[in-house]
């Protein structure tokens, strides 16, 4: 097995016991990035020098038998809306210019203290506004399973980087599904924790009452280990909660007696039949392992999206006011006076989707409309929370799709923003209610594209959803992009064994195959294509 095919926890073990050197692991990750990222574009920034320095430091700590976390030396990536001191942060926007944060986000500090090897910053939808990573000002990221398709969003770069073995794990952020949906599209695991679990200090805010940072990795086990590291009570985040952790140690094989709910109102038209089949097959597995599964009506499903977009856009319009061309970031070249500086800088710096959401957000908060829109949405939010509270009276865990379909093709989604918003139907209400949600790969659709199943728990009950996901994944182990690999030129998935001529990508091994031989091990070479 190649170094980048190991799970984060397994790689951590091998690094700790000296089987694999930290520098060796780093070089393996950088090699994958070098070979594949020209095509995939999962990364915006790769800081090789800093990573090399960190690798040397951690190797020394291992040598001196210092007590280290299970993630020491493991190569990781961070979504580019999370600040790291001294490393350019863009939020995939021109608006931040060459902004270099003067401080590091708490979640990343926690990772650094645990000895994780940060490679760089991943691509995303601009300011986390989008569901495909196509609103990035620096170009989209491609899905490693089919490079003519999107990786999902807004944490598309993080999910594609993990899926293609460019890093062992990554951090994403989730406001309306931005970890769970791209995890589903890219065939990896991702978890959005209970609101307040991971400090938002250093996360560039989109919807402050909804945002959470969370891990993306190959396995549920990895996600649990990473969540333990990044979670903390932080006085610098006034919404940070004091709570229990111990997620990794709570993993067990036993879900006998676990009561699982299946919301009937999620399984209606609009849900792709292949996704539905995969979810129901997964539910069958859970039943076989001793869980009881019962259908129920969640309620208010169709109102989650209007409530979400009203609230998120309102909060975003306020949060993004700080980008004004004054203290940092992009400043227009020509302006007459202060107000023009503001307007021109913002209008030139922000992309179309961001401007759309800021306009709507400003409008729904404005005098005369505030009650009808914003307050109304907050009342609907309260009703949605109550519906979830009622569900968790009866159930330990609720199971749902992460998205209505597998990954769409590049260029299909932006023409109709409303349609793109509707793809968030299974994820947004989880953010509105502050609940934890875990996405685990559970199968493929008719085109061979990954489908994820979502485990949703009550507030602070990550352990239940992690356990359910862990048990499920034992029966349905993680599968990298093997055999069927992607070919950018045709977008067609090649059947196993036939290989892809001329260079193509294979997430699992990242090795370049000479022209004509086809991709057996598989690899991708951005420059050929």
């Amino acid at each position: 097995m190649e170094i980048m095919d190991f799970t984060a926890v397994k790689l951590g073990e091998k690094i700790k016991n000296g089987e694999i050197g930290v520098r060796e692991a780093l070089d393996a990750a950088l090699e994958r990035i070098e070979k594949q990222d020209g095509l995939l574009h999962a990364f915006i920034t790769v800081d090789r020098e800093k990573a090399v320095r960190t690798a040397e430091k951690i190797q020394e700590e291992i040598r001196s038998k210092k007590e280290l976390s299970p993630l020491a030396g493991v190569p990781a990536a961070v979504k580019d809306n999370i600040c790291i001191k001294g490393m350019k942060t863009t939020c995939a926007s021109k608006m931040l210019g060459n902004f270099i944060p003067a401080y590091t986000a708490e979640a990343v500090s926690n990772l650094e203290q645990a000895g994780a090897l940060i490679l760089g910053k991943t691509n995303m939808d601009e300011f986390a506004m989008g569901s495909t990573t196509e609103t990035s000002a620096f170009g989209p990221t491609r899905n490693p399973w089919d490079t003519d398709r999107v990786p999902g969003g807004s944490s598309g770069g993080s999910c594609a980087a993990v899926s293609s073995g460019e890093c062992s794990f990554a951090l994403g952020s989730d406001t309306g599904g931005s970890i769970r949906q791209p995890s589903s599209y890219c065939g990896v695991c991702g978890i959005k924790p209970t609101y307040g679990t991971v400090s938002r200090y250093g996360l560039i805010a989109y919807g402050s009452s909804l945002d959470q940072i969370g891990p993306v990795a190959k396995t549920v086990e990895d996600c649990a280990a990473i969540l333990d590291v990044i979670s903390s009570h932080d006085a610098k985040d006034s919404t940070s909660m004091e709570r229990e952790y111990g997620f990794y140690n709570s993993l067990s094989d036993d879900i006998r007696g676990m009561k699982i709910g299946l919301p009937r109102d999620y399984f209606t038209e609009g849900l792709d039949p292949d996704v539905k089949k995969n979810i129901l097959d997964a539910v069958y597995v859970l039943r076989e392992k001793g869980a009881s599964v019962e259908e129920f009506d969640l309620g208010y499903v169709k109102y989650a999206i209007p409530a979400y977009y009203t609230i998120a856009d309102a909060e975003a319009s306020s949060n993004l006011e700080r980008f004004d061309g004054i203290k940092y970031g992009y400043r227009a070249k020509e302006y007459e006076g202060l107000h023009q500086l503001y307007k021109k800088s913002r209008s030139e710096g922000f992309g179309e989707e961001v401007k759309r959401r800021i306009l709507l957000g400003s409008f729904v908060l404005s005098s005369g409309y505030y009650d009808a829109y914003y307050l109304k949405a907050l009342k609907v939010k309260a009703l949605i929370k109550k519906a979830w509270d009622d569900a968790f009276e009866k159930f330990d865990v609720v199971v749902a799709p992460a998205a209505p379909t597998a990954a769409p093709k590049l260029g299909e989604s932006l023409a109709d923003p409303m349609k793109m918003y509707l793809s968030d139907i299974y994820t947004v209400s989880v953010n509105l209610a502050g609940l934890p949600g875990l996405s685990v790969p559970c199968g493929k659709d008719r085109n061979g594209l990954p489908v994820g199943i979502q485990f949703i728990g009550n507030c602070f009950e990550e352990k239940k959803i992690l356990r359910a996901g862990y048990v499920f994944q034992k029966e349905h182990p993680y599968e990298g992009v093997k055999g069927g690999s992607c070919h950018a030129a045709t977008g067609k998935l090649q059947p196993e064994g036939q290989g892809v001529k001329g260079g193509s990508c294979h997430a699992a091994t990242g090795k370049l195959q000479p022209e004509g031989q086809g991709v057996k091990g598989g690899s991708c070479h951005g420059k050929i294509l």
Binding site: Y328, L360, F363, A377
Partner: protein, 99 residues
Amino acid sequence: MGKNTISDETIDYAGILAKLELSPEEKEKAKKDMEQMLDYIDEMNELDTSGVIPMVHVFRTNNVFREDIVTNHDAHGDMLGNAPEEKDHFWKVPRTFTE
């Protein structure tokens, strides 16, 4: 066809609030986008929310206070390094007060 119609006045007003300057084409598109989104948001009016308390935060939140002591003096250089225009260790900005 939706029920909401956004006038030029309204989109200009939203633009002032958002501190955004839209070209005529952008304005037309923004009007249509906003009409479409408001039509969709209006669906929330199907719900009877009388007596429901608006929920901003899921959990009780309290103000978190600390002593007003500067702890990051040494970050000044890093922060100033991001200034679009700088003069004598200050951020340079257009005049804020006119006659």
